[in-house]
Amino acid sequence: MISQLPALQVVIPLIGAPLCIILRRGALPWLVALLASWVALAMAATLLSQVGDGEVISYAVGGWLAPLGIEYRIDVLNAYMMLLVAGTSSIVLPFAYKSVAKEIPEEKHYLFYSGFLLMLTGLLGMAITGDAFNVFVFIEISSLSSYAMIAMGRDRRALSAAFTYLVMGTVGATFFLIGVGLIYAVTGTLNMADLADRLPPIYESRTVLAAFAFISVGILLKLALFPLHLWLPNAYTYAPSVVTAFLAATATKVALYLLLRFGYTVFGADFVFDIVPSSQVLLALALVGVVVASTVAIFQNDVKRLLAYSSVAQVGYIVLGISYANVTGLTASIVHIFNHAATKGALFLAMGCIAYAAGACRLESFAGLGKRMPMTMAAFVIGGLSLIGVPLTAGFVSKWYLVLGALEKGWWPVAVVILATSLLAAVYVWRVVEVAYFRDPPAEGPVLSDPPFALLAPTWILTGACVYFGIETSLSVGFAEQAALFLMGGS
């Protein structure tokens, strides 16, 4: 059974999706989704425990051995990502029961949960596979289902947001496909480990350079690095709350994992940082992205949109850590992948609670919510503190390592920018806090109160995670450091 886990990790959610379509009555689709997600979480945790000591699990799909067959290759970085994805979905799904019941018409519930499981399958598959073309297939599975899920939002702008995301996402995936085709043409293999062996002799050839360019642009579009982030604000703002929370915590993170995997394992750090000036390019784009996105976030009137721009900025931080090309920077990035997922997950779940109670997420509707919905706003405040990077929250740990990595390289202006943009984050978090706590609730209108326990519990689990992983960092930083050393050492 244990040896079959890699395949089952992807297959169980995949089987859950058609089951949701067949069993469409009542709460059954939700139950199937919840069970599939929890089983996937258990499997991801088991796999992580098995690779925690530098081991690599290799699984040949169909019995065809690598490098001819498709190989699922699990090391500490993959397993970490799968735990993140499965964990997020397991926490978001209990939240979904009531949130989806309110936001989406009942006859579409079974389609919602089926689409959700397909997104989960796609993301888990992207993380686990060791074959370059298989990555493309899973990218498209997760992307297509997320376009459909985003389009389920109530506002009609969800439709145009989904369409824009569809067009941009497909262009990105097609660029990725072109890149994979080019490296296949020049090496004859699609297996990542085999590519790592065959690429070094031909590093200087134009084909490999072009392939790297195409693959990285495709992946950078998926992870919404400035200036390829244009799809993200609209998509996150108008999607249903559950979808936003899940996507914000997982979709861009798995794309970041792909960047690391293709950069370090397939192409190799020598190529990526010495032959191609990736460090400078990523540094420039990341810094501009962080500054611009944080600034734009300050002027938003819709809180979900504010958080979406904040996500673009946080992705900038993660790419910044990657651009350092040292172990501390890489550790910072991987730990921030985890911390940001917890933070943004908590924040968007809090937004889901507010959408459940108030129906809207505009800044004006937040007036007086500090008194009316104390538990929800408290969760929002803690999440906001983690975004800023206040000590004792998870965000602080990531920023600490980021600044440390910058100082290690002697790039103290970068450290200054990181601290300055944290102040910008403080500004936009304060905007929301000020309206919620220091303004009186409107005289007329419905009386709002805290949402039911089923919605608050997942929000507070993630908020608690923000605080827990800010204090007790041995797990998150431990695994991140292991993964960083594995990537930099093994390449």
């Binding site: 079959q4 297959v11 995949l14 089987i15 058609p18 089951l19 379509i21 699984y59 169909g62 019995g63």
Partner: protein, 138 residues
Amino acid sequence: MKHHLIPRVVAKLTIPGILLFALYVQFHGDYGPGGGFQAGVIFGAGFILYGLIFGLQNLRRVAPPAVTTAFIAIGVLVFAGVGIVSQILGGNYLDYDVLAADPHAGQHIGILVVELGVGITVAAVMITIFVTFAGRER
């Protein structure tokens, strides 16, 4: 379109041929161009032609939406199920060698069933897409 005689007669003559050709392409995928996706599209095209000539009502009668939706799910389950059966019989996921006593026969059986699953799903999806698009009121 029912009123036009020539399309009606031609459709009545060709639709069975289209469906039969779809089955041929489905099972011939082992030895030549073909396989699940192509066969599914051709099969769906036969139904779509029926819907175009004889009207959406008749198409809904012949291929009820509940049935096509169920078939979408069933096809995926067949494909995934073959992999699970392989795992139960001792091999890796989708390892066709273990499906029969002789690995060669196992490969044949595996591919056949898997492509059947794909064909079912694709045909059902094509019909569903057509019915959904055509059924929306202007």
